[in-house]
Symmetry: C2
Protein backbone atom coordinates (compact mmCIF):
# COMPACT_ATOMS: atom_id res chain seq x y z
CA UNK A 1 0.00 0.00 0.00
CA UNK A 2 1.39 3.35 -1.03
CA UNK A 3 1.73 6.18 1.40
CA UNK A 4 -0.31 9.06 0.10
CA UNK A 5 1.67 12.28 0.34
CA UNK A 6 -0.05 15.60 0.72
CA UNK A 7 1.00 17.79 -2.16
CA UNK A 8 -0.25 21.04 -0.75
CA UNK A 9 2.83 21.80 1.33
CA UNK A 10 4.91 21.47 -1.81
CA UNK A 11 2.76 23.99 -3.60
CA UNK A 12 3.31 26.35 -0.72
CA UNK A 13 7.04 25.69 -0.86
CA UNK A 14 7.07 26.52 -4.52
CA UNK A 15 5.40 29.82 -3.81
CA UNK A 16 7.85 30.67 -1.08
CA UNK A 17 10.76 29.84 -3.33
CA UNK A 18 9.35 31.85 -6.19
CA UNK A 19 8.71 34.80 -3.92
CA UNK A 20 12.23 34.45 -2.62
CA UNK A 21 13.58 34.60 -6.15
CA UNK A 22 11.49 37.63 -6.93
CA UNK A 23 12.58 39.47 -3.81
CA UNK A 24 16.16 38.65 -4.69
CA UNK A 25 15.65 39.97 -8.20
CA UNK A 26 14.11 43.05 -6.68
CA UNK A 27 17.14 43.49 -4.44
CA UNK A 28 19.43 43.08 -7.42
CA UNK A 29 17.63 45.82 -9.28
CA UNK A 30 17.53 48.14 -6.29
CA UNK A 31 21.21 47.71 -5.63
CA UNK A 32 22.46 48.01 -9.17
CA UNK A 33 22.32 51.80 -9.07
CA UNK A 34 24.84 51.82 -6.27
CA UNK A 35 26.47 48.65 -7.57
CA UNK A 36 25.49 46.76 -4.45
CA UNK A 37 24.76 43.05 -4.55
CA UNK A 38 21.67 41.49 -3.00
CA UNK A 39 23.70 40.30 -0.06
CA UNK A 40 24.77 43.86 0.72
CA UNK A 41 21.23 45.11 0.90
CA UNK A 42 20.24 42.08 2.96
CA UNK A 43 23.00 42.94 5.38
CA UNK A 44 21.90 46.56 5.62
CA UNK A 45 18.32 45.51 6.18
CA UNK A 46 19.34 43.07 8.86
CA UNK A 47 21.51 45.61 10.65
CA UNK A 48 18.66 48.09 10.61
CA UNK A 49 16.43 45.59 12.36
CA UNK A 50 18.77 43.77 14.72
CA UNK A 51 18.42 44.33 18.44
CA UNK A 52 21.24 44.80 20.93
CA UNK A 53 22.03 41.09 21.14
CA UNK A 54 22.13 40.63 17.43
CA UNK A 55 23.99 43.49 15.81
CA UNK A 56 27.25 41.58 15.34
CA UNK A 57 29.00 39.99 12.35
CA UNK A 58 28.48 36.49 13.73
CA UNK A 59 24.75 36.99 14.11
CA UNK A 60 24.54 38.31 10.57
CA UNK A 61 26.49 35.29 9.33
CA UNK A 62 24.02 32.98 11.05
CA UNK A 63 21.12 34.93 9.65
CA UNK A 64 22.35 34.79 6.07
CA UNK A 65 23.73 31.28 6.33
CA UNK A 66 27.21 32.41 5.30
CA UNK A 67 30.57 31.97 6.97
CA UNK A 68 31.89 34.67 9.25
CA UNK A 69 34.83 35.18 6.91
CA UNK A 70 32.54 35.92 4.01
CA UNK A 71 30.42 38.26 6.06
CA UNK A 72 33.53 40.02 7.30
CA UNK A 73 34.36 40.92 3.72
CA UNK A 74 30.85 42.11 3.06
CA UNK A 75 31.01 44.35 6.10
CA UNK A 76 34.40 45.66 5.07
CA UNK A 77 32.93 46.79 1.78
CA UNK A 78 29.92 48.39 3.45
CA UNK A 79 32.25 50.17 5.84
CA UNK A 80 34.48 51.47 3.04
CA UNK A 81 31.38 52.82 1.33
CA UNK A 82 30.41 54.58 4.52
CA UNK A 83 27.11 52.75 4.86
CA UNK A 84 27.76 51.20 8.27
CA UNK A 85 29.79 51.85 11.39
CA UNK A 86 31.71 49.23 13.32
CA UNK A 87 32.80 49.75 16.89
CA UNK A 88 34.07 47.66 19.75
CA UNK A 89 31.86 46.33 22.47
CA UNK A 90 32.68 47.86 25.85
CA UNK A 91 32.51 44.66 27.81
CA UNK A 92 33.73 41.91 25.49
CA UNK A 93 36.42 43.50 23.40
CA UNK A 94 36.39 40.71 20.83
CA UNK A 95 32.91 41.71 19.76
CA UNK A 96 32.19 44.20 17.01
CA UNK A 97 28.92 46.09 17.07
CA UNK A 98 27.28 47.17 13.85
CA UNK A 99 24.95 49.98 13.01
CA UNK A 100 23.88 51.90 9.95
CA UNK A 101 25.51 55.22 9.25
CA UNK A 102 23.21 58.04 8.27
CA UNK A 103 24.19 57.40 4.67
CA UNK A 104 23.20 53.76 5.12
CA UNK A 105 19.85 54.74 6.56
CA UNK A 106 19.25 57.11 3.70
CA UNK A 107 20.14 54.46 1.14
CA UNK A 108 17.86 51.94 2.75
CA UNK A 109 14.99 54.39 2.87
CA UNK A 110 15.36 55.08 -0.84
CA UNK A 111 15.66 51.53 -2.04
CA UNK A 112 13.23 49.77 0.28
CA UNK A 113 11.97 46.82 -1.66
CA UNK A 114 9.19 46.43 0.86
CA UNK A 115 7.22 49.05 -1.03
CA UNK A 116 6.64 46.62 -3.86
CA UNK A 117 5.49 44.08 -1.32
CA UNK A 118 3.14 46.52 0.41
CA UNK A 119 1.65 47.14 -2.97
CA UNK A 120 1.39 43.49 -3.87
CA UNK A 121 -0.53 42.67 -0.71
CA UNK A 122 -2.90 45.62 -0.84
CA UNK A 123 -5.88 43.52 -1.84
CA UNK A 124 -5.39 40.77 0.68
CA UNK A 125 -7.54 41.09 3.75
CA UNK A 126 -5.78 41.56 7.10
CA UNK A 127 -7.31 38.36 8.27
CA UNK A 128 -5.87 36.25 5.48
CA UNK A 129 -2.52 37.89 6.01
CA UNK A 130 -2.60 37.02 9.69
CA UNK A 131 -3.45 33.43 8.91
CA UNK A 132 -0.71 33.11 6.34
CA UNK A 133 1.72 34.72 8.76
CA UNK A 134 0.97 32.29 11.53
CA UNK A 135 1.27 29.29 9.22
CA UNK A 136 4.59 30.45 7.82
CA UNK A 137 5.87 31.30 11.26
CA UNK A 138 5.20 27.78 12.39
CA UNK A 139 6.98 26.35 9.37
CA UNK A 140 9.90 28.67 9.97
CA UNK A 141 10.26 27.71 13.60
CA UNK A 142 10.20 24.01 12.88
CA UNK A 143 12.61 24.46 10.03
CA UNK A 144 15.06 26.33 12.22
CA UNK A 145 14.85 23.72 14.92
CA UNK A 146 15.34 20.80 12.57
CA UNK A 147 18.21 22.70 11.08
CA UNK A 148 19.85 23.36 14.41
CA UNK A 149 20.42 26.79 13.00
CA UNK A 150 20.12 29.90 15.08
CA UNK A 151 16.55 31.04 15.54
CA UNK A 152 15.63 34.59 14.77
CA UNK A 153 12.49 36.40 15.75
CA UNK A 154 11.03 39.34 17.63
CA UNK A 155 10.09 39.53 21.30
CA UNK A 156 6.34 39.48 20.69
CA UNK A 157 6.30 35.73 20.29
CA UNK A 158 9.37 34.87 22.34
CA UNK A 159 9.29 32.75 25.47
CA UNK A 160 11.75 34.96 27.33
CA UNK A 161 9.80 38.14 26.94
CA UNK A 162 8.08 39.54 30.04
CA UNK A 163 5.86 42.56 30.17
CA UNK A 164 6.72 44.70 33.18
CA UNK A 165 4.41 47.60 32.58
CA UNK A 166 2.57 49.43 29.84
CA UNK A 167 5.75 50.31 28.02
CA UNK A 168 8.54 48.37 29.65
CA UNK A 169 9.44 44.80 28.82
CA UNK A 170 12.16 42.51 30.05
CA UNK A 171 14.16 39.71 28.48
CA UNK A 172 14.19 36.83 30.95
CA UNK A 173 17.15 35.25 29.28
CA UNK A 174 19.50 38.21 29.33
CA UNK A 175 17.92 40.08 32.20
CA UNK A 176 17.74 43.45 30.46
CA UNK A 177 14.85 45.84 30.43
CA UNK A 178 13.63 46.61 26.92
CA UNK A 179 11.62 49.45 25.50
CA UNK A 180 8.58 48.86 23.33
CA UNK A 181 10.32 49.61 20.02
CA UNK A 182 13.18 47.35 20.98
CA UNK A 183 10.82 44.41 21.35
CA UNK A 184 9.98 44.66 17.68
CA UNK A 185 13.52 44.13 16.47
CA UNK A 186 15.11 40.87 15.35
CA UNK A 187 16.83 38.81 18.01
CA UNK A 188 19.19 35.87 17.58
CA UNK A 189 18.34 34.17 20.86
CA UNK A 190 14.68 34.04 20.04
CA UNK A 191 12.76 31.12 21.46
CA UNK A 192 9.30 30.53 20.06
CA UNK A 193 6.36 30.37 22.40
CA UNK A 194 4.26 27.27 22.02
CA UNK A 195 1.03 28.72 20.79
CA UNK A 196 -2.47 27.42 21.02
CA UNK A 197 -3.93 26.88 17.60
CA UNK A 198 -7.61 26.54 16.88
Amino acid sequence: MEERLDKNPLVLLELVERLGNLMRTELRKSGSDESLQPVHLQALIYISKANRYSNTPQALADYLGLTKGTVSQTLLLLDRRGLIERFEDDIDRRVVRLRLSSAGERLLAETQPSLAWQNATRNISPNRIRNATSALREALITLQEDNESATFGACQTCTWCQKLSQRIYRCGRMGDRLSGPETRKICRIYQAKVEEVA
Copy 2:
Protein backbone atom coordinates in the same frame (compact mmCIF):
# COMPACT_ATOMS: atom_id res chain seq x y z
CA MET B 1 -2.62 63.63 10.06
CA GLU B 2 -0.40 60.64 9.61
CA GLU B 3 -1.35 57.82 7.33
CA ARG B 4 -1.54 54.70 9.45
CA LEU B 5 0.28 51.86 7.72
CA ASP B 6 -0.69 48.29 8.29
CA LYS B 7 2.35 46.51 9.64
CA ASN B 8 1.08 43.00 9.12
CA PRO B 9 2.15 42.69 5.50
CA LEU B 10 5.67 43.63 6.57
CA VAL B 11 5.71 40.86 9.14
CA LEU B 12 4.68 38.46 6.42
CA LEU B 13 7.39 39.82 4.16
CA GLU B 14 9.95 39.27 6.87
CA LEU B 15 8.86 35.66 7.17
CA VAL B 16 9.06 35.10 3.45
CA GLU B 17 12.52 36.64 3.33
CA ARG B 18 13.70 34.60 6.27
CA LEU B 19 12.31 31.43 4.75
CA GLY B 20 13.99 32.36 1.51
CA ASN B 21 17.30 32.71 3.31
CA LEU B 22 16.85 29.39 5.03
CA MET B 23 15.98 27.58 1.82
CA ARG B 24 19.01 29.15 0.24
CA THR B 25 21.18 28.01 3.13
CA GLU B 26 19.68 24.58 2.76
CA LEU B 27 20.54 24.58 -0.91
CA ARG B 28 24.07 25.66 -0.11
CA LYS B 29 24.49 22.78 2.29
CA SER B 30 22.94 20.25 -0.08
CA GLY B 31 25.14 21.35 -2.93
CA SER B 32 28.42 21.57 -1.06
CA ASP B 33 28.98 17.83 -1.30
CA GLU B 34 29.04 18.08 -5.06
CA SER B 35 30.46 21.59 -4.94
CA LEU B 36 27.35 22.99 -6.52
CA GLN B 37 26.15 26.49 -5.74
CA PRO B 38 22.57 27.31 -4.80
CA VAL B 39 21.93 28.64 -8.27
CA HIS B 40 22.91 25.30 -9.78
CA LEU B 41 20.43 23.39 -7.70
CA GLN B 42 17.78 25.99 -8.40
CA ALA B 43 18.40 25.50 -12.09
CA LEU B 44 18.13 21.72 -11.78
CA ILE B 45 14.94 22.01 -9.80
CA TYR B 46 13.48 24.38 -12.34
CA ILE B 47 14.40 22.16 -15.25
CA SER B 48 12.81 19.20 -13.53
CA LYS B 49 9.55 21.10 -13.22
CA ALA B 50 9.40 23.14 -16.42
CA ASN B 51 6.81 22.22 -19.02
CA ARG B 52 7.36 22.05 -22.77
CA TYR B 53 7.06 25.80 -23.23
CA SER B 54 9.48 26.61 -20.47
CA ASN B 55 12.47 24.28 -20.64
CA THR B 56 14.77 26.79 -22.30
CA PRO B 57 17.69 28.94 -21.10
CA GLN B 58 15.74 32.13 -21.59
CA ALA B 59 12.86 30.92 -19.46
CA LEU B 60 15.26 29.88 -16.74
CA ALA B 61 16.91 33.29 -16.88
CA ASP B 62 13.53 34.96 -16.44
CA TYR B 63 12.69 32.64 -13.59
CA LEU B 64 15.88 33.31 -11.69
CA GLY B 65 16.04 36.98 -12.57
CA LEU B 66 19.47 36.63 -14.15
CA THR B 67 20.76 37.53 -17.59
CA LYS B 68 20.80 34.93 -20.32
CA GLY B 69 24.58 35.17 -20.50
CA THR B 70 24.93 34.26 -16.86
CA VAL B 71 22.49 31.41 -17.17
CA SER B 72 24.29 30.16 -20.24
CA GLN B 73 27.42 29.72 -18.15
CA THR B 74 25.52 27.96 -15.42
CA LEU B 75 24.10 25.55 -17.96
CA LEU B 76 27.53 25.00 -19.45
CA LEU B 77 28.79 23.89 -16.07
CA LEU B 78 25.83 21.61 -15.46
CA ASP B 79 26.32 20.11 -18.89
CA ARG B 80 30.02 19.48 -18.30
CA ARG B 81 29.11 17.71 -15.08
CA GLY B 82 26.68 15.54 -16.97
CA LEU B 83 23.69 16.70 -14.97
CA ILE B 84 21.64 18.07 -17.86
CA GLU B 85 21.23 17.54 -21.58
CA ARG B 86 20.86 20.30 -24.14
CA PHE B 87 19.46 19.69 -27.57
CA GLU B 88 18.12 21.72 -30.42
CA ASP B 89 14.47 22.39 -30.94
CA ASP B 90 13.16 20.73 -34.08
CA ILE B 91 11.12 23.64 -35.28
CA ASP B 92 13.00 26.75 -34.20
CA ARG B 93 16.63 25.85 -34.44
CA ARG B 94 17.77 28.83 -32.39
CA VAL B 95 16.10 27.36 -29.34
CA VAL B 96 17.83 25.00 -26.94
CA ARG B 97 15.77 22.52 -24.96
CA LEU B 98 16.87 21.44 -21.52
CA ARG B 99 16.24 18.33 -19.54
CA LEU B 100 17.83 16.49 -16.66
CA SER B 101 20.13 13.61 -17.40
CA SER B 102 19.63 10.48 -15.35
CA ALA B 103 22.56 11.59 -13.21
CA GLY B 104 20.83 14.91 -12.70
CA GLU B 105 17.63 13.23 -11.66
CA ARG B 106 19.51 11.03 -9.26
CA LEU B 107 21.30 13.98 -7.74
CA LEU B 108 18.08 15.89 -7.32
CA ALA B 109 16.36 12.94 -5.70
CA GLU B 110 19.16 12.64 -3.17
CA THR B 111 19.44 16.29 -2.25
CA GLN B 112 15.81 17.33 -2.36
CA PRO B 113 15.52 20.15 0.13
CA SER B 114 11.77 19.79 0.01
CA LEU B 115 12.02 16.99 2.54
CA ALA B 116 12.96 19.45 5.22
CA TRP B 117 9.98 21.52 4.22
CA GLN B 118 7.60 18.58 4.27
CA ASN B 119 8.79 17.94 7.74
CA ALA B 120 8.51 21.53 8.85
CA THR B 121 4.90 21.75 7.76
CA ARG B 122 3.77 18.42 9.19
CA ASN B 123 1.83 19.99 12.04
CA ILE B 124 0.05 22.61 10.02
CA SER B 125 -3.47 21.70 9.06
CA PRO B 126 -4.25 21.34 5.35
CA ASN B 127 -6.75 24.10 5.68
CA ARG B 128 -4.26 26.62 7.01
CA ILE B 129 -1.84 25.61 4.30
CA ARG B 130 -4.45 26.19 1.64
CA ASN B 131 -5.24 29.60 3.04
CA ALA B 132 -1.61 30.58 3.22
CA THR B 133 -1.09 29.31 -0.30
CA SER B 134 -3.89 31.35 -1.74
CA ALA B 135 -2.74 34.50 0.02
CA LEU B 136 0.83 34.10 -1.16
CA ARG B 137 -0.29 33.28 -4.66
CA GLU B 138 -2.19 36.49 -4.82
CA ALA B 139 0.82 38.44 -3.60
CA LEU B 140 3.04 36.68 -6.11
CA ILE B 141 0.75 37.41 -9.03
CA THR B 142 0.47 41.08 -8.18
CA LEU B 143 4.20 41.29 -7.63
CA GLN B 144 4.92 39.76 -11.00
CA GLU B 145 2.52 42.07 -12.74
CA ASP B 146 3.87 45.20 -11.07
CA ASN B 147 7.33 43.99 -11.95
CA GLU B 148 6.49 43.39 -15.57
CA SER B 149 8.44 40.22 -15.09
CA ALA B 150 7.46 36.95 -16.67
CA THR B 151 4.76 35.13 -14.78
CA PHE B 152 5.27 31.53 -13.85
CA GLY B 153 2.68 29.08 -12.65
CA ALA B 154 0.96 25.79 -13.27
CA CYS B 155 -2.08 25.12 -15.42
CA GLN B 156 -4.45 24.53 -12.50
CA THR B 157 -4.93 28.24 -11.94
CA CYS B 158 -4.18 29.47 -15.46
CA THR B 159 -6.69 31.27 -17.63
CA TRP B 160 -5.67 29.41 -20.77
CA CYS B 161 -6.24 25.96 -19.38
CA GLN B 162 -9.25 24.02 -20.67
CA LYS B 163 -10.38 20.64 -19.48
CA LEU B 164 -11.28 18.45 -22.45
CA SER B 165 -12.05 15.22 -20.65
CA GLN B 166 -11.26 13.35 -17.49
CA ARG B 167 -7.55 13.22 -18.26
CA ILE B 168 -6.96 15.49 -21.20
CA TYR B 169 -6.44 19.22 -20.96
CA ARG B 170 -5.69 21.86 -23.53
CA CYS B 171 -3.75 25.11 -23.49
CA GLY B 172 -5.90 27.71 -25.21
CA ARG B 173 -2.93 29.95 -25.78
CA MET B 174 -0.69 27.48 -27.55
CA GLY B 175 -3.36 25.12 -28.77
CA ASP B 176 -1.71 21.94 -27.55
CA ARG B 177 -3.34 19.07 -25.77
CA LEU B 178 -1.79 18.39 -22.40
CA SER B 179 -1.80 15.33 -20.19
CA GLY B 180 -2.70 15.53 -16.51
CA PRO B 181 0.86 15.41 -15.20
CA GLU B 182 1.90 18.07 -17.68
CA THR B 183 -0.62 20.47 -16.23
CA ARG B 184 1.19 20.37 -12.94
CA LYS B 185 4.47 21.67 -14.31
CA ILE B 186 5.73 25.22 -14.33
CA CYS B 187 4.88 27.35 -17.32
CA ARG B 188 6.31 30.70 -18.36
CA ILE B 189 3.22 31.94 -20.17
CA TYR B 190 1.05 31.46 -17.13
CA GLN B 191 -1.86 33.83 -16.77
CA ALA B 192 -3.59 33.89 -13.42
CA LYS B 193 -7.30 33.30 -13.25
CA VAL B 194 -9.20 35.97 -11.39
CA GLU B 195 -10.50 34.02 -8.47
CA GLU B 196 -13.48 34.61 -6.26
CA VAL B 197 -12.41 35.07 -2.70
CA ALA B 198 -14.74 34.86 0.26
